[in-house]
Amino acid sequence: MEAKNLEKLENEMYVCIRCAYCFEECPVIRERGWDTDGARGKVMLSYGLMTGDLEATQEVADRLFQCTTCGDCMERCPSNVTVVDIIAAARADLVKAGFSSETHERVIQNVKDTGNIYGDTEGGIEGKEGDTPLFVGCQYQSRPNKTKKFIKILEKLGIDATISDEVCCGFPMEILGFVDDFDEHKERFKAAFPHGEAITMCPTCTVFLREGHDIEARHLLQAILEVLPQGDLGMKVTYHDPCDFSRGLKIIDEPREIIKRLGCELIEMESNKDGSACCGGGGGILMSDQELSDDISLYRIRQAVATGAEVLVTTCSTCETVLKKAAKTVAELGEDTITVRNIEDLIWKALK
């Protein structure tokens, strides 16, 4: 197998001293238990693929795709190894060599065909002119009711958004190993969203607009916090930090401020902030390994239930989706459960 992407990160793989500190909260090794499942194991597999000591097979590829890219390992790593970059490079080389999952291929084809990861061509958000460019993102384009609510919240708070006929930011191409496709997609994105700055709805898009497109992106909760009045919801809530928020963007305090501003009592889960446990929805496993995704999300929902809060609030629609499913599963298992809401639901309720 050619390992052109991994070769660029050879030194980074050497920086990994294989101490295993990344095991501490890695959701995959916690659920599956083999050293191969942890971040160190994946860095080793990547190194073996690069040197040729390890033959590229579908099984090796499957292991490298069994990662939510939540980045907890990078928070724990004493050498600050960019583990997710290494895993993404390994995936890129494996995809180039013909090892990918059918579900991932379908997502990428959807983006190519429709500009949206779900292949949705109807029901998106209509374009409009305003003062501030808003990047909606695939998740919210495909949940128009939710998104319209968010846009109304912005209007109520005096933020007039410009909405473009946008296409996917391209992050799935980058993280699922379709990097050549991203090179082509980048121009298409730029033509559809020709702004140098934007407010965004999805934490992952926020990170990728900054890193992949050099756009000065700011999540809309940051904008909302500046103008949100005091509410009196009086609910007892716990908050799940999406990985791209707390670890990617270091947005930790703002959602908590908003929750308190809405008049809610916040109870933290056992793991929180930049040490938050993963929801199980990222890195492509939601599509390629549903069982693993479910196991990871059950762990997180049980942490939420243990707080005794009425509602679990999050700020990412993927986290919301998988945690809602997990909440339903624990209820079906006869365990205590919890209501899961995206933060805009609470803001909407408070502003009404």
């Binding site: 050497y14 238990g33 597999l45 040197t51 390890l54």
Partner: protein, 476 residues
């Protein structure tokens, strides 16, 4: 090697046995420079399963290597002769917390920090505090007699082990030690097992002695223009009767590494010492901190800062905490290797040893930093090399030899807390030359077929560089 995979599956279940190429590759190395593949990885869940596996291995003379987190730095879990790697992490039950007896019974795969989290509500803790406490297992700590930055006050793992269940090479499970604080005569075999690196038996359970959680804690930092003054101050503290809970030293290479990599602005001095005192009463902690500061001042320490505020304590300790990533990123192309990484010397020899380490590094054209738990005489080094160059390995091997020669001359020991295994075996065998045959006789008596982590410690190869493949690609 001919290993009956089906038989192993019948013992622990299909899902807990792997001979898949990618698993064998991952289990072929740890945090050391070594690499050697096992034939199979097995994950037992009970002592009985370990017994069945060991009986089978003993019957067929198949090597068996127990492994916890695989965070060892000298090749403890690298299966030099292939065979079975026994991943013990499934055995992670905290079985019996007995605060009234100040002890706890755990399985070998329990992680140190998980244990302390479970003990916290009872107001007690397991005192050894290795930096790898977030992931290292009790079994691994017993295997290496691990300690950490609070060993200066609480001792090493051996000081907190009361008993254990051990599966011997014939498959028999022995209950060693007792549940009592004192135990009189007899061979006290549990103490022999501690530090034996899986070569005499496989620990499946342990009874650990606990300590009360200190209620008060203060941290401080002091700078020294001369390394010798820092060494003398640490000696004076050791002789003073004050028992700090931490005394950490960073040398000027370590300071430069932190400043270069992270621009932390640490003072440009020969040594920085971080210190901590803890206890159950505030006045006791205040008194100890005052006395420690007096001693530092008497030895020309300057720029002293102390605090009991959690944020300030974190800021003061940040330099030491950031040292690890700084060394890993000291210079593009250089990697941080764990060689000669944890020698211990009599406390009076700390400054001289660090000076000697710098001299040896310079003479051999490599970069070595020195830092560590100075209060217990323990010095960590990292050797920064380009691992693709054979000449760098040759220079490292020569430097390692010279460092250990000096350590022996000043009455020190090869490893203070990480263990011997492969990388340190040549030096350790010189240090313990008069005892090797006794050790081999013990090994032979307890493991006549030499199946338990063979060719480690006294039986390890004489050249660590060629003992196994190196896990780096050496090109020229």
């Amino acid at each position: 090697m001919d290993v009956d995979i089906e038989r192993l599956r019948s013992i622990v279940g299909d899902e807990n046995v792997s001979d898949r190429a990618f698993d064998l590759y991952v289990y072929s190395s740890d945090a050391s420079v070594h690499q050697a593949k096992p034939d199979v990885v097995v994950r037992p869940g009970t002592t009985e399963e370990v017994q069945d596996i060991v009986r089978y291995a003993n019957e067929k003379k198949i090597p068996i290597v127990p492994r916890g987190a695989g965070s060892g730095m000298s090749g403890h879990t690298v299966p030099i002769d292939g065979g079975i790697v026994l991943d013990m992490k499934r055995m992670d039950r905290i079985m019996d917390i007995k605060p009234e007896d100040v002890l706890v019974r755990v399985e070998a795969g329990v992680v140190n920090d998980d244990l302390n989290k479970a003990l916290k509500p009872f107001g007690v803790f397991f005192p050894p505090t290795p930096s790898s406490g977030n992931i290292c297992t009790i079994g691994g700590m017993i295997g290496t007699n691990a300690s950490g930055n609070r060993a200066v006050k609480y001792g090493a793992t051996r000081d907190s082990i009361m008993g254990m269940k051990v599966v011997m090479a014939n498959g028999e499970a022995l209950d060693l030690g007792s549940n009592t604080i004192v135990e009189s005569a007899g061979y006290q075999l549990h103490r022999l097992i501690v530090g034996s690196e899986g070569t005499l038996g496989i620990v499946t359970e342990a009874t650990l002695r606990l300590a009360p959680l200190p209620k008060f804690r203060m941290i401080g930092v002091v700078n020294f223009d001369r390394l010798e003054d820092a060494g003398n101050a640490i000696s004076a503290i050791a002789a003073s009767g004050v028992k700090p809970s931490m005394l950490e030293l960073m040398d000027h290479v370590a300071i430069k590494a932190v400043n270069t990599a992270l621009d932390m602005g640490l003072p440009d001095v020969e040594a920085i010492v971080m210190f901590e005192c803890n206890g159950m009463a505030k006045d006791e902690v205040d008194r100890d901190m005052e006395r420690v500061q007096e001693i530092f001042k008497e030895h020309n320490g300057s720029g002293i800062e102390v605090s009991d505020d959690p944020k300030e304590m974190a800021r003061i300790y940040a330099g030491r905490k950031k040292l690890f990533p700084s060394l890993s990123r000291y210079k593009e192309g250089l990697v941080s290797t764990s060689l000669a990484d944890d020698m211990a010397v009599p406390i009076s020899q700390i400054a001289a040893t660090i000076q000697k380490i710098h001299e040896i590094a310079e003479n051999n054209g490599i970069i070595m930093s020195a830092y560590g738990h100075a209060g217990s005489g323990l010095i960590h080094t990292k050797i920064l090399i380009d691992p693709s160059q054979q000449s760098q390995w040759d220079a490292s091997a020569k430097a390692v030899d010279e460092v250990y020669k000096f350590i022996r001359e000043v009455g020190g020991t090869t490893s203070g807390e990480h263990g011997i295994a492969l990388s340190k075996a040549p030096a350790w065998k010189e240090e313990k030359a008069d005892q090797l045959e006794t050790m081999r006789a013990i090994k032979k008596a307890l493991d006549p077929n030499n199946i338990l982590n063979p060719h480690k410690l006294q039986d390890a190869p004489d050249d660590w560089v060629t003992a196994t493949d190196l896990r780096y690609k050496v090109r020229g």
